[in-house]
């Protein structure tokens, strides 16, 4: 057992209202710079939809993540042998047009336009070339366009759905969509790290945050195709790649990352998970069907004395262990099993988990009225407006079992609370549902509390990161007394 600690995350999709506050918070802090305008380290997508960059889940063309070949794990996009072929021109690199050309507006037009019959408009200007452009795409161009032929119908997750199921997703007046906010998953088996020829990408040992060393990056851009979630970005101005840093400077000072902090729907949870690094390779080799369970089995019980002992041996600080024991992520993922990794079939072993959304599942329209009660208690879930197969393609490597389990449990919790507070559901029925959903009433109560009544401190259990110790190992703080800080002292200027 090689115990390591990881800052892990849960996004509760049922609570996301698609407001994009998270994206704006991130943009304002990190990517409002030349060359980074097009980057959205945090973005919010509508599902079904094409996402950002367009159809990023289509690994036939982007070739992200890992594949199993002859019992070995290998990158889809590159390899040591293919480096020569890939380094001068990477065949699966997405280009600016796969994202969108960032723009601003010529606001002067509003004041200077000659008098005429029409209102003047602010003309869009490209932030790359500075020329007027016709806007053809944006980072959330398919926002709320569930059911649309151009966007929703091209969602790669529709693969394997029957015609009937597809039609069901976009039926007139019954079409369905939900939001899917995304950041870097800070994976356990990151393909961006494995692909980087320069070794510029790395996982921080102490907290598992995946970072990209700007001084080591040489612009070989192998990480961009390699990440199946398209969460490393190439800065065309500095000639370096960049990615979500999980706001580590905020975490190190005890604050939640900006997107977490600002989230209006309070959908985001953050906490420590302890995991067994010795088993990563073995788990990543599991079959699609076993992957979700295998991934979950990497996560260790922070109360287990053997785990604590091994963690101490690995130098994990007591305060981090304490934090792991209070982690909301541990409860969602490991105890309640209602949070699932996105696209686990990419085998990067993401450390961001999603509670699949109930709302589009629950509503079953009969004669224009949304129906919630049915004789067969879980019938609604399988007959729901969003086909289970679609959610399974996102959160279960195509297998419905784990998704159904998570949804049934959530539904049982709702019925149980409804029986308690509204009273229009019989307690006997609610209790039967809980039983069938593998949930006790205490667990239901705990899920309800952490979902609905959670405070800031319930959602974000941030361990002390002890960076002061780390820094002291590298530098003598006294030497820097009254100086200007420790880190990067020259500005990030483009080379000649």
């Amino acid at each position: 057992m090689d115990v390591r600690s990881q800052i892990a995350m849960v996004f509760h999709l049922d609570k996301c209202i698609g407001c994009h506050t998270c994206s704006i918070a991130c943009k304002n802090i990190w990517t409002d710079r030349r060359g980074a305008e097009y980057m959205w380290w945090n973005n919010v997508e509508t599902k079904p939809g094409c996402g950002y960059p367009t159809r990023w889940e289509d690994q036939q063309s982007y070739r992200g993540g890992w594949e199993v070949a002859d019992g070995n794990l290998r990158l889809k996009s590159t390899s040591k042998a293919r480096i020569v072929a890939n380094i001068f021109h990477h065949p699966s690199l997405p280009t600016l047009d796969d994202y969108y050309e960032p723009w601003t507006y010529d606001y002067q037009e509003l004041f200077n336009a000659p008098e005429g019959p029409d209102q003047p408009t602010a003309k869009p200007i490209s932030m790359v070339t500075g020329k007027y452009i016709d806007i053809e795409a944006g980072p959330n161009w398919d926002d709320d366009l569930g059911g649309s032929p151009v966007y929703a119908e091209n969602d790669p997750n529709l693969a394997g759905l029957t015609e009937e199921q597809r039609a069901q997703l976009s039926a007139v007046e019954r079409l369905v969509f939900f939001y899917f906010p995304r950041i870097c998953n800070h994976c356990l088996n990151p393909s961006c790290v494995a692909a980087c020829p320069s070794g510029a990408l790395y996982k921080r040992g102490e907290d598992g945050i995946v970072l990209l060393d700007q001084n080591r990056c040489r612009g070989w851009r192998a990480c961009v195709p390699a990440c199946p979630y398209k969460k490393t970005y190439y800065n065309w101005s500095t000639g370096k790649s960049e990615k979500c840093i999980l706001c580590f400077p905020r975490l190190e000072t005890g604050q939640a990352p900006a997107c977490f902090h600002s989230c209006v729907g309070r959908i985001r949870y953050l906490g420590v998970l302890l995991y067994d690094a010795a088993r990563i390779h073995e788990v990543a080799l599991s079959s699609d069907e076993e992957l979700v369970d295998a991934h979950r089995s990497l996560i260790l019980d922070p109360h287990d004395p053997a785990v604590i002992e091994a963690a101490r041996r690995n130098g994990i600080h007591e305060s981090v262990l304490e934090s792991a024991q209070k982690s909301p992520v541990y409860r969602f993922v490991k105890i309640w099993k209602i949070a699932l990794p996105p696209h686990i079939e990419y085998r990067t072993l993401p450390m961001l988990f999603y509670v699949p959304p109930m709302s589009p599942v629950m509503g079953q329209q009969t004669g224009g009225v949304v129906e919630h009660v049915s004789g067969d208690l879980f019938h609604d879930i399988d007959a729901s407006r969003v086909p289970m197969k679609f959610l399974a393609n996102l959160f279960g490597a195509g297998h419905e079992g784990k998704v159904r389990y998570a949804l049934r449990k959530q539904k049982a919790v709702r019925w149980y609370r409804r029986a308690l507070t509204v009273g229009d559901v019989e307690m006997g029925v609610a209790e039967r549902m809980l039983r069938e959903a593998d949930c006790s009433s205490e667990e239901a109560e705990a899920i309800y509390r952490l979902t609905s009544l959670c405070t800031f401190d319930d959602r974000f259990v941030i361990p002390p990161m002890h960076r002061e110790e780390a820094i002291e190992m590298l530098e003598d703080p006294l030497e820097h007394k009254q100086g200007v800080g420790f880190g990067f002292l020259q500005g990030p200027r483009r080379g000649l």
């Binding site: 070339t129 990408l201 040992g205 190439y234 065309w236 390779h281 200027r493």
Partner: protein, 235 residues
Amino acid sequence: MPSAGNYLDVALFSVLPYVALFTFLLVTIERYRGQAFTYSSLSSQFLENQQHFYGLVPFHYGILTVLTGHVVAFFLPAGLLWWNDHPARLYVLEAAGLIFGLLTLVGLLAIATRRLNVPRIREVTSVTDWIVLGLLLMQVASGVYVALVYPWGSSWFAAIVAPYLWSLLELAPNLGAIAPLPLAVKLHITNAYLLILFFPFTRLVHVLVVPNPYLWRRPQVVRWYRRAPSPARHG
């Protein structure tokens, strides 16, 4: 009395090489120490993906092969002469050199056209980019010209140029053999020194940071701040 031409020869072939090499070493090291951030391929594939392929790929395959040829001739002149002993082998070598030279030239022209014509690429084009492309164009064009007009270069490089270059390294420049060479060859050599001189001030430094550790490192990289790296067990 040495003639004016002789003075020029001395300046170009026994002073310039030292100035170029010294500048190259000093500036690359200083730049690496002080401004590691500026070491990058500065790839522009992200902005334009089609013409990129037709320029960058032939150019790099071409230049790397041709450069390797020069390096081999420099280190193993005797071996080269032995190889060329056989006319068939000589023809193969000369033809290959010419083909890769032309490949480089075509790629270079495609690169320059792309830089000129694609608006997005113009945004990331600097004056130094044009200096680099100009010098490279001169270098490759003069090289191809020499290959066409003064054949069997692989042999006379080994016999004449390699000894001269070695004499430079031994700090006893011997211009005897070089002086009578045709103008085009002298241009090729002089331009090479200029390239070396400008090299550290340009994007060409990407050649020095080619990622060889990748070939033997473990796939996953973990950095610990509070303990020595533990052997990764997977990847």
